[in-house]
């Protein structure tokens, strides 16, 4: 039997003892204990050191509003700081450590901060550590970093897994106490779906703390979610909740927590109320506790939080603490009623317990060093007396837990009758019941916002160490609105969101200003009500699963060919195919050489493919592309340029006509979804009269580029007779539907991104791997190689094809040398604004090629272009390098760039300036086509 455990009673399971450690020392508790109740049972009162002043702190409450008893729970990668001991369910083997103390809890060196308190008053960081300026980085900041902060991050990736879910119901009941259970039963009677959430492991709420028996039955259509905190209210009847699945277990491989989004057109807030501390000198000493918490430890956990108690109150309900103390064998040395007249209710109860009442008396200060040893009382005549005690149970009244009602900006209203805020404007669909609505609390209350005339610190916000002095100081310095008070003093800004501080704080502010609380107002609360781990918000979407991966139809083939993959948006694409001993550069260079001299294959499935059909298909293409389409013959493809309505280039691709009313459009990989959205916008909003339909076929077709002088030879082996793939029958830019490999349906396009004789062959995706394999076998005699995005990129730079880095959303058709594609005869998206003078100004950075003067220095994308003799300043900036590569075909580095007046500066020398990567070299401006400018290889 541990020191303070009562012989019987409590809702703990005495048949299940549990071992745990705190600061390295071993203790015993029971199943059903929280860490706080188990520590109290072992007479451990000192739990932590406060944030700024490093004052000794203990357990104030028995719930999630706890500001002081915050610990580091678990160790290693699982260690979590700022865990409320009052809500941490005890499990066998639990390890916890106190925070914010050095070298240990009892002898904390930084408690010296207490002596330096005047330096650490509210807002001190706005007034200190500013001189001399040089000292900031070298001295002040490192010291502050080491001393500041509350709790240590584990510094390792979160090893737990989390999951999410979405739940729907007709009524969401928040809070499983007496009022919540009543509301759930009532809602269930209407027959719909009801969800009842409670943040603790058991239903019952305050009744468990008061030792009261209530009806806990619920009908079948009520889904109960315990260990579930509804932490936020959002628009559209959406609620955020967090279920702790395994935090109460020693070890588990199951998801630790579940983030639950609850959609409920109606909700009932039955969240109860949170008790208010009294504000007096040293009210933060271990042993000063909320009266309701004292009852909770006695009734719910079978623990006596002390041996001799003083009870301080200003309303009737706190009187129920008296019989609880008596039943727990705790001697009551005094009841301090700050009201001018003690109520009959209190008199009766106190008399029955033979406890002395001091009417119109207040607490001056708590006495003791590391724990309460006495209470100094100020009597009505001004005299002070000292009462011996090791427990001060205090109650300044109850505050309805109305936080959720203000998440959508609703303002709580001050109720003078119960001296508390009650819900004001409510989120749509929500109603409030029970103590959360202000019912049945604070009977006969006479509010007392502070007491005590000593120099001892009187705390308002325990967790952020905000005292009554700080509030006076804030008002004095002009930070007199509630919002300024909050931010200047940090009152209400700790991990407890000021649950035990806010009302006391703004009541004191009102007093200081000589205004009423109504006039002073209150700050709003924002989600989350209690902390939510980032891991829970991510759920399964972290690391490699942050976004879903898309695999191409030839992924298995590429893997077998030793491909190294690269992420391109959501896709995994083969970047290069290294042979043994090759790095990326050797592999890419070899692949380029093989394609340009023989043949290679590359998966181009990822480029968006949109199937467009309808009577007005060609007309629709005229609207979205800058160039002409109605005259495109059947069986031909054409390059298309798409602008945004502001005249800048959005995307490019090719579009093939398969029949009068049937086209297949391609887009860049990155813009596939954006283009689809754009087409839908143009069709549904701008030109709804056009009869056209489109659908993505990106995944339907595996598409493989076959490029190189021997590409036709390879292709010919696969094509089924009688299809004629000769140059005459199937010239550059032809398109056709055919079969290959004895009947496999296919589409063939003679397109070239590499600049070689090339084709793109598409088959239904399930044949992708087999096609890649068949091409490899057919091309073996020609030294065929698979090639990846690296080689693809090198070859398109050699040919000067604009791609992502050039289509960066800030370039125009003129900039890219594509002005001739802008039709002068028809309307198209972007036509008007692309003609703005600033967009056709030839001084704009325009596409050119670059070669290093020395023939060897690599040029790098992102480098800036300057005149060789000018200072490297923004004023002299003339453009930048967009794409760069070493060209194995030409034997030297090349680049594409946007240069002011570019086309008129061919032959000029330009300085390529890259200070961040120590690049500074000279380059020659050349035409942006380095290889086969006449295109003769394309038409072979």
């Amino acid at each position: 039997m541990t020191a303070r455990r009562l012989p019987t009673g409590g809702l703990i399971d005495r048949s299940k003892p549990l071992g745990f450690t705190f600061d390295g020392k071993s203790y015993q508790g029971y199943a059903g204990d929280t860490l706080a109740s188990a520590l109290l049972a072992n007479n451990v009162k000192l739990i932590g050191r406060s944030f700024k002043y490093h004052r000794p702190r203990g357990i104030l409450s028995a719930g999630s509003e706890e500001p002081n008893a915050i610990v580091e729970l678990r160790d290693g990668a699982y260690r979590e700081p700022n865990t409320r001991a009052t809500t941490a369910e005890l499990f066998d083997g639990l390890t916890a450590a106190s925070q914010n103390r050095f070298p240990n809890l009892k002898y904390d060196l930084l408690s010296i901060n207490s002596a330096l308190a005047p330096l650490f008053a509210a807002g001190f960081y706005y007034k200190t550590f500013m001189w001399p300026a040089a000292f900031w980085e070298k001295l002040y900041e490192p010291i502050i970093r080491r001393a500041a902060g509350l709790g240590r991050n584990a510094g390792m990736p979160d090893p737990d897994s989390y999951e999410k879910s979405t739940e729907f119901c007709d009524v969401l009941v928040i809070g499983g106490g007496e009022s919540g259970l009543d509301a759930a039963r009532e809602a269930a009677r209407a027959g719909g779906r009801v969800i009842l959430c409670d943040e603790t492991a058991a239903l019952g709420g305050q009744s468990l703390s008061d030792g009261k028996t209530i009806d806990m039955t619920l009908p079948e259509n009520v889904t109960v979610l315990t260990r579930t905190t509804v932490f936020g209210v959002y628009d559209g009847g959406t609620y955020g909740a967090l279920t702790r699945l395994t935090d109460h277990l020693q070890v588990s491989s199951a998801p630790r927590q579940r983030l639950v989004k609850i959609i409920a057109p109606q909700s009932v807030l039955a969240s109860g109320a949170i008790e208010r501390p009294l504000v007096f000198g040293n009210n933060d000493l271990p042993g000063v506790m909320l009266a309701g918490a004292v009852r909770a430890y006695i009734h719910r956990y079978g623990v006596a939080p002390g041996t001799r108690a003083v009870l301080a109150l200003n309303h009737d309900e706190a009187a129920s603490t008296i019989p609880a103390l008596t039943a727990a064998g705790i001697n009551i040395t005094g009841i301090i009623d700050s009201r001018t007249k003690t109520s009959d209710h209190l008199k009766t109860i106190a008399f029955a317990a033979s406890a002395p009442i001091f009417t119109n008396a207040t607490l001056n200060r708590a006495l003791g060093k590391l724990a309460v040893s006495g209470a100094e009382i100020m009597l009505r005549d001004g005299a002070t007396i000292t009462l011996p005690c090791d427990l001060i149970a205090m109650s300044g009244g109850w505050n309805p837990a109305l936080h959720l009602t203000s998440h959508l900006d609703g303002k709580p209203a001050w109720s003078e009758g119960i001296a508390a805020f009650i819900p004001g404007e409510l989120p749509p669909g929500m109603r409030v019941v029970g103590a959360a609505a202000g019912e049945g609390i604070n009977a006969n209350i006479q509010p007392l916002w502070q007491s005590g005339k000593s120099s001892a610190k009187a705390f308002v916000d325990f967790q952020n160490d905000v005292t009554t002095t700080d509030i006076k100081l804030a008002k004095q310095e002009g930070f007199a609105s509630v919002e300024h008070l909050k931010r200047y003093t940090t009152l209400g800004m700790a991990t407890d969101q000021g649950k035990t501080a806010n009302v006391n704080g703004l009541a004191l502010l009102a007093q200081a200003k000589g205004k009423t609380i109504s006039q002073t107002g209150t700050t709003r609360f924002r989600p989350p009500y209690t902390p939510v781990p980032i891991g829970a918000l991510a759920g399964a979407h972290r690391g490699q699963h942050f976004k879903p991966k898309r695999l191409t139809p030839t992924h298995d083939f590429a893997t077998a060919q030793n491909a190294v993959f690269i992420e391109t948006g959501l896709w995994l694409r083969a970047q290069y195919f290294p042979k043994p001993g090759e790095g990326w550069r050797e592999a890419a260079n070899r692949e380029v050489n093989t394609v340009r001299n023989h043949v290679g294959i590359c998966d181009v499935t990822t480029l968006g493919k949109i199937d467009i059909q309808g009577r007005d298909a060609a007309k629709f293409l005229e609207c979205v592309y800058t160039n002409s389409w109605t005259n495109l013959p059947i069986g031909r493809a054409r390059y298309g340029l798409m602008l945004r309505e502001d005249g800048f280039v959005m995307d490019d691709g090719t579009c093939a006509r398969l029949s009068d009313h049937h086209f297949v459009m391609t887009t860049t990989t990155a813009n596939a979804a954006k283009v689809m959205q754009h087409l839908e916008f143009c069709h549904q909003i701008l030109w709804p009269e056009l009869d056209v339909s489109f659908i993505s076929v990106t995944d339907q077709w595996a598409q493989i580029a076959i490029a190189g002088p021997q590409s036709r030879d390879v292709l010919a082996k696969l094509i089924d007779a009688p299809f004629d793939v000769s140059n005459a029958a199937f010239p550059y830019m032809a398109a056709a539907q055919l079969t290959i490999c004895n009947g496999t349906p296919a589409r063939l396009f003679r397109l070239s991104f590499s600049g070689e004789l090339a084709y793109e062959l598409a088959v239904p995706a399930r044949f992708g791997n087999a096609l890649a394999q068949a091409l490899t076998e057919a091309g073996a005699e020609y030294n065929i190689t698979p090639y990846g995005t690296e080689a693809l990129g090198i070859m398109r730079i050699e040919k000067g094809h604009p791609a992502g880095p050039e289509l960066n959303g800030q370039t125009t058709a003129h900039d890219l040398g594509l002005a001739k594609l802008l039709s002068k005869k028809k309307d198209f998206i972007g036509r008007a604004l692309s003609a703005r003078p600033a967009l056709i100004d030839t001084a704009r950075p325009t596409l050119v090629g670059l070669k290093p003067i020395d023939g060897v220095t690599l040029l790098r994308a992102g480098s800036h272009l300057l005149p060789p003799d000018a200072a490297p300043t923004a004023a002299n900036d003339q453009g930048h390098v967009t794409s760069a590569a070493y060209s194995p075909t030409l034997g030297h580095p090349i680049a594409l760039a946007l240069l002011c007046n570019g086309p008129s500066r061919l032959g000029d020398t330009i300085r390529v300036y890259d200070p961040i990567r120590n690049g500074d070299t000279l380059a020659e401006v050349v035409a942006p086509v380095f290889y086969d400018p006449s295109g003769s290889r394309l038409n072979a």
């Binding site: 999951e163 999410k164 879910s165 979405t166 739940e167 729907f168 779906r193 199951a254 998801p255 989004k261 959609i263 399964a540 979407h541 699963h545 976004k547 879903p548 991966k549 898309r550 695999l551 191409t552 139809p553 298995d556 896709w571 499935t605 199937d611 059909q613 309808g614 009577r615 009869d691 339909s693 489109f694 659908i695 993505s696 076929v697 990106t698 995944d699 339907q700 077709w701 595996a702 290959i740 490999c741 004895n742 009947g743 496999t744 088959v763 239904p764 995706a765 399930r766 044949f767 992708g768 791997n769 087999a770 096609l771 068949a774």
Partner: protein, 175 residues
């Protein structure tokens, strides 16, 4: 013919990848829905529902658009022929990966990934929905043997399957 390969990971009690089937998109041209229904001999659903007619399932997949599904290997050719000038007919048999979620925990598993209400009172057996599952665009419906079927773009298949296996682990791991 080239060999076909589809992503076919092993099944678990709750999660089974489905074999290849014919899927064809049929999107009516302007004002042609009645003529299309007549040509196909099917009363195509105007709201998100799935109907079965002569062995072919028709799923609403957007305004004036449907996905036809069956085991017939020539479904595309058949429908392209019948719907000729009345609708855009596009083969999607290779464009989708299909996975089924079944068993007593199916709705609980789906609730972890799919953000819509699947309670029988609002999602009856003939309902279908276009929505998300684990951030992947999907179409979802139920088939005759009380299993939910989820279809996504083929390239997302392994990612979608992985998400369902994880979501079902709580139930399937128990065996």
């Amino acid at each position: 013919m080239l060999d076909a390969a589809i992503f076919a990971p092993p099944a678990t009690p709750s999660v089974q990848p489905l074999p290849h089937r014919a899927i064809v998109s049929v999107a009516a041209f302007k004002g042609q829905i009645p003529a299309l229904c007549a040509a196909l001999g099917v009363d195509l659903p105007a709201t998100p529902r799935r109907i079965v007619s002569s062995g072919t399932a028709w799923l609403w997949s957007g305004p004036a658009a449907w996905l036809a599904m069956s085991g017939a290997p020539d479904l595309y050719e058949t429908l392209a022929g019948r719907a000729a000038s009345l609708a855009a007919v596009t083969d999607q048999s290779d464009g989708r990966f299909l996975v089924s979620v079944s068993g007593p925990h199916a709705r609980k598993i789906l609730a972890k990934l799919v953000p819509i209400d699947l309670h029988p009172s609002v999602f009856p057996p003939d309902a279908t929905a276009l929505t998300l599952a684990a951030h992947i665009g999907v179409q979802l419906w139920q088939e005759e043997d009380q299993k939910f079927v989820i279809a996504c773009f083929r390239s997302f298949g392994p990612a979608l399957h992985h998400a369902f296996i994880e979501a079902a682990a709580e139930f399937d791991a128990r065996g």
